[in-house]
């Protein structure tokens, strides 16, 4: 990339740009394809991406040189994804799933509550079991409050782990890749530890089981 950014003249710059594309265009196209709806949208996004990378004397590419903590390909994928998203939002607007997301979050939160309640042998405290029973509903609310407090006491990394697993529904293999766990086994082990700590925290707050 230094040949591209330090090119003395336009001819040298074009040669260097061609070499850059030969090396990285598959990765850029891969990114555009993931976000594109169809072939034409993908190609439009790819063309937009190349244009943006070239713009203002390769301003975006120069930003990597000043912040080289990561590998260039990792950085390029992140930047390319953002540019493609900008392009698609400009064309098609933002996805309007914010309200649905709220409903999803509640559903996933209930799944975590159900899981913990099951482990505490408090399955009768789950939402579907308390629908017609005011006393059980109170206990379920208590469980939710205790859970919120217990989640707040976790480390940021552990909260992220739970979000990726229960809210985003990712398999352990993908979580391992994102968070830097050595193997999926390490993800399961950490999850079990965190869930165990949550159960202990709930017991400390008086959530022992279904009996009042």
């Amino acid at each position: 990339m230094s040949r591209l950014l330090d090119a003395a003249d336009s001819t040298a710059r074009e040669v260097a740009w061609k070499a850059f594309l030969e090396t990285h265009s598959r990765l850029l196209l891969h990114t555009a394809r993931k976000l594109g709806r169809d072939y034409d949208a993908t190609m439009d996004a790819y063309a937009y991406l190349l244009n943006q990378l070239r713009r203002d004397d390769f301003r975006r590419l120069r930003a990597y040189v000043s912040d080289d903590r990561s590998k260039f390909t990792t950085w390029l994928v992140v930047v390319a994804r953002r540019l493609c998203l900008d392009h698609f939002r400009e064309r098609y607007g933002r996805p309007t799933d914010a309200r649905a997301r709220g409903g999803e979050t509640r559903l996933v939160r209930r799944q975590l509550v159900d899981l913990l309640a099951e482990k505490l042998d408090a399955s009768s405290l789950t939402a579907h079991a308390t629908a017609d029973n005011p006393e059980m509903r109170l206990r379920a609310d208590e469980l939710n409050r205790a859970l919120t407090a217990a989640l707040g006491a976790l480390e940021a990394r552990e909260r992220l782990l739970l979000k990726l697993r229960f809210e985003d529904g990712l398999p352990a293999r993908e979580i391992a890749g994102i968070m830097g766990f050595a193997t999926p086994f390490h993800v399961y082990r950490r999850l079990n530890t965190v869930l165990g700590r949550l159960q202990a925290a709930l017991r400390q707050r008086g959530i022992e089981g279904p009996e009042p």
Binding site: Y39, D168, E174
Partner: protein
């Protein structure tokens, strides 16, 4: 709430951050759906990216292969010549699509079928008459194409057709050119 910068996302995914920075990013990602989605998608893109396949042979194996070849040169070789154990690095290429039907003598030819090519974005089909003129062309993402009703093939006339698969930016891989003709109707 400030979203994560590109450099922060990339450095996090590459495990290149100091513990304090890592913890800060994890705290943010735990609360911010957008940034967390970015981490998820970027990691997926990186783990599924196309790779260039190369052949690497350790130096010792190269020397051993060269020694074997030198020894073999000392005696006459009756079979076909063998290539050395060392190959130039190669770039992965796509398999070409293969024509399934129609080919040879066919009773019907409205539906044209070919084999799929992994990671092909689309296919371009070209039908020629026996003079080599293009009589029909179409593009599709499927591995079949239906001749339009307006297109009438003449029985007993030879036609040729081929399919090209697009496997990358301006990159096409073509099938063989295959000939077929429709069986003339019985008198």
């Amino acid at each position: 709430m400030r979203h994560l910068e590109s450099g922060e996302v990339a450095a996090y995914l590459d495990n290149a951050l100091a513990p304090a920075d890592r913890s800060r990013i994890e705290a943010h990602a735990g609360e911010c759906d957008e940034c967390r989605a970015e981490l998820i998608e970027a990691e997926w893109l990186l783990s599924t990216r196309p790779r260039v396949r190369r052949w690497y042979v350790p130096a010792g194996a190269v020397a051993a292969a060269a020694a074997v070849i030198l020894l073999l040169w000392a005696r006459p070789v009756s079979g076909p010549a063998r290539s050395s154990g060392y190959r130039e690095p190669v770039v992965t290429t796509s398999v070409a699509p293969a024509i399934v039907a129609p080919r040879g003598t066919a009773t019907a030819a409205r539906l044209l079928v070919w084999t799929a090519v992994p990671s092909a974005d689309r296919y371009r089909l070209t039908l020629f008459d026996e003079t080599g003129s293009v009589v029909w062309e179409t593009q599709t993402t499927d591995t079949t194409a239906l001749l339009p009703d307006s297109m009438r093939l003449r029985p007993g006339t030879n036609y040729l057709w081929k399919v090209e698969a697009q496997t990358g930016w301006n990159r096409w891989v073509a099938s063989d050119l295959v000939e077929f003709s429709l069986v003339p109707p019985r008198p």
